[in-house]
């Protein structure tokens, strides 16, 4: 039913969710956002595969949830209240935008492909700002190199994924008209490895937390 890549991909998601849950149980409270996000991602991906491209507008409901959970992670990592408030305000605005888009998509099937990808692009743009800010404002008071801090890896993963898919997602509706087969091939060419990089980075973040915890306890 599922191709070897998808089996590997889902395995990666399950492993990342498990590690994030262990990190949460060991004291990393912000990991709960990752746990929920990864489980929801797994469910949506499986649903999308089963539905085989139909009801794609459901992504308009998943995307704001994904954005909210990433912002929750940022909110719990960031000490400055002002930036936290801006992040949560952007979640509310993005939710309204996405629900509106989902309604429009439901109304007009002709628009749906374009608006789904532009929704992800807008999410990517907002996450780019949020996680660049987090990357430069990581709380590194403890004497650890930056690459041993969990927030570093999550930020790197998010930036690489959304930076890499920005162009292909933004132009995807046009590419579908130009050459659907090549468009789908290129889409997979970019999205699959970038997805793997994103979840490997999230796994690295959880491993860093568990290793640091051992170091701090000793």
């Amino acid at each position: 039913m599922f191709s070897p890549f998808y089996l590997f991909y889902f395995g990666l998601l399950i492993f990342a969710a498990t590690l994030a849950y262990i990190a949460y149980k060991k004291g990393d409270k912000k990991s709960i956002a990752m746990v929920v996000l990864l489980i929801l991602t797994l469910l949506f991906e499986v649903l999308a595969l089963i539905l085989n491209g139909r009801y794609v507008f459901l992504y308009d409901l998943f995307i704001p949830t994904e954005y909210m959970l990433f912002c929750l992670y940022y909110w719990k990592s960031q000490p400055v209240i002002k930036t936290k408030r801006w992040a949560m305000l952007s979640v509310a605005c993005f939710f309204v935008f996405s629900i509106a888009v989902a309604f429009m998509v439901f109304q007009s099937q002709a628009l749906y492909m374009g608006l789904v990808t532009w929704n992800i692009d807008l999410e990517g743009f907002l996450l780019f700002i949020v996680f660049t800010h987090l990357l430069f404002n990581i709380d590194d008071e403890i004497s650890l190199p930056i690459y041993k801090i969990p927030e570093f890896w999550v930020s790197v993963g998010v930036l690489i994924f959304y930076g890499g898919v920005f162009t292909i997602l933004g132009l995807y509706p046009i590419l579908l008209h130009v050459d659907p087969a090549t468009a789908a091939k290129k889409y997979g060419f970019f999205l699959n490895p970038l997805n793997v990089i994103l979840y490997v980075c999230i796994i690295s973040g959880s491993i860093c937390f568990l290793q640091n915890r051992k170091f701090l306890i000793q």
């Binding site: 930056i146 930036l159 890499g164 050459d179 290129k186």
Partner: protein
């Protein structure tokens, strides 16, 4: 048609790779930024450490000066007062009157010395009144021993201090230099020049003592004192130059960005 389609897809690939490279640059910049932040934090911690040590040393120096002055000066005055009072013969009124006058004079001098000591007890508050004032105070105490004559020259216009911590460190460096002169130089004449030019404060201390080979230090304590001078000056982004030859005195130049 086919080549234009290919061109479109190639362009998209190139743009995506460009975005990924851009993100790689952002990540590298963030890593470098955090490394610099850590180095700065270590430098700041070192500075705070040295500042605390400096404050403690200034207080210790003040206590030593007070202790020496109480023993050598005020103690002597009060002992003399007590001896004079004990030697008064009430039957001999003329002599008693003279001795009482002497006792009053000794008591007034003791009170004056005690007041000066009281001001010195406010040790690090000298810096609050300014570096030149603190230097003048230090010079007064050196000259009181009578062993050293100190000439002090100050630039007409010195900028107002905006950093009391820096002033404290400069003052401590000067104390270290003067301690070295008193302990090792056997000098009778000390000259202190405090100048300001081009955004830098210049402190020049020269003496007519026995000098030493500045390239080959024989006394370990003198070596550590000079090393302290260099270290303290470096922490406030300054430079210390020590020039000396046996028999020709010593010249210490401290240049520090100021204020």
């Amino acid at each position: 048609m086919l080549s234009s389609k290919q061109e479109i897809f190639n362009s998209i690939e190139l743009i995506s790779i460009f975005f990924i490279l851009l993100i790689a640059i952002i990540i590298v910049t963030a890593v470098l930024y955090h490394n610099r932040k850590k180095v700065h934090r270590v430098d700041l911690a070192n500075f705070q450490n040295i500042l605390l040590k400096t404050q403690f040393e200034v207080q210790e120096q003040t206590m030593q000066t007070i202790g020496a002055d109480l023993h050598d000066n005020i103690g002597q005055l009060l002992s003399l007062t007590s001896l004079t009072l004990n030697s008064i013969e009430l039957a001999n009124t003329a002599n008693a009157g003279q001795k009482i006058e002497t006792v009053i004079d000794l008591t007034v001098r003791s009170i004056k010395e005690m007041r000066l000591l009281g001001k010195l007890l406010q040790g690090d508050q000298l810096i609050v009144s300014g570096l030149p004032e603190a230097i003048r105070y230090q010079i007064n105490w050196i000259e009181k021993s009578g062993k050293h004559q100190v000439e002090y020259n100050q630039a007409e216009e010195l900028p107002a201090a905006s950093n009391a911590d820096k002033d404290l460190i400069i003052f401590r460096v000067l104390q270290e230099i003067l301690n070295n002169i008193i302990k090792h130089a056997a000098a009778s004449q000390i000259t202190i020049d405090l100048g300001y030019a081009g955004g830098s404060l210049k402190l020049l201390v020269t003496d007519n003592g026995i000098g030493f080979d500045s390239t080959n230090l024989t006394s370990q304590s003198m070596g550590m004192g000079l090393e302290n001078i260099r270290k303290r000056t470096k922490i406030i982004k300054g430079e210390a130059d020590i020039q000396s030859t046996p028999g020709n005195g010593t010249e210490v130049t401290i240049i520090v960005p100021y204020p």
